[in-house]
């Protein structure tokens, strides 16, 4: 599986994402600098965590308007599996590829810890290696992970199986404890927790691996 990691000036989980992708897929990902938007064809695009443009104005707002994201949006619309973690999720909502928005955590504090979450849809290209309803542990590290969408959108997301993961307990005020959502077509996933930080036992567990393995299963 040939993957790409998009690197913005303030990305800081780009290396972690690349390490995870290489360990799990066996192939070094292409690191795409935000100004080099005309990058090679890949099977999978990852938007890593970080503070892409300092998170000034709104998290992910500036990156969402960058040249490289125009290209990412185009490829995602063509069906390329696209995955955003943390700041990557914020960017995906800011581009409109994913519905909703991520607001400041309800308690106003940055939160970094392992959280339990449930797999809400185990049929998607990102989650098929998990069992439906499985409880997994993945760390979060964010200040703005409080997922918001209006009730109508939330009903639709839940009805159509677009909610991939939910927190087992409320950690940031997210509506309906949503931790990760997909687009209607199912080829774009955004999530606040960091699966790339949970890929081997010295780091505290390996529940994050199956997310990458799911995509590999799908792409064959």
């Amino acid at each position: 599986m040939k993957s790409a990691v998009i690197v913005f000036p303030g990305s800081n989980c780009d290396r972690d994402m690349a390490v995870a992708l290489e360990k799990i897929t066996g192939q070094k990902p292409l690191m795409v600098w935000h100004q080099d938007y005309d990058f090679d064809k890949v099977d999978f695009i990852a938007l890593p965590g970080g503070f892409s443009y300092g998170d000034y104005l709104r998290c992910g707002a500036m990156s969402a308007r960058s040249h490289v994201m125009k290209e990412v949006v185009k490829r995602a619309e063509d069906g390329v599996p696209t995955f955003g973690v943390c700041n990557g999720f914020q960017i995906l909502t800011e581009t409109g590829l994913l519905p909703g928005a991520l607001m400041r955590n309800a308690n106003l504090h940055f939160v970094c810890k392992d959280v339990k979450m449930t797999v809400e849809n185990a049929d998607s290209m990102f989650t098929n290696a998990y069992k439906a309803g499985e409880e997994i542990t993945i760390p979060v590290a964010h200040h703005d992970g409080n997922y918001f969408a209006d009730d109508e959108t939330l009903d639709r997301l839940e009805g159509e199986g677009q909610v991939a993961f939910k927190y087992a307990q409320d950690i940031n005020g997210a509506q309906r404890r949503i931790a990760g959502v997909m687009n209607a077509r199912g080829n774009v996933l955004g999530m606040m927790p960091h699966p790339e930080r949970m890929i081997e036992s010295p780091l505290g567990g390996s529940d994050g691996r199956k997310m990458f393995e799911s995509v590999m299963n799908t792409l064959g």
Binding site: R65, M103, F148
Partner: protein
Amino acid sequence: MKARIFVTLKNGVLDPQGKAIEHALSNMGFEGVDEARQGKFIELELSETDRAKAEANVDEMCRKLLANTVIENYSIELE
């Protein structure tokens, strides 16, 4: 020309920062604050002299970048 842009959270969107302000004010003994909402204030210096054009321009900036219309409203003042 100067453009002043106020970005506020839409009604119905929970505003934890506003809530914190409200709570702090009441703890400090300020009474009669029924609600606090926190937003952003952005000031732009524009070279445009035509008011209508400037307004249209800034409106587009707001829609495309300065506000996230999923959760935020904005208003523009020109001077």
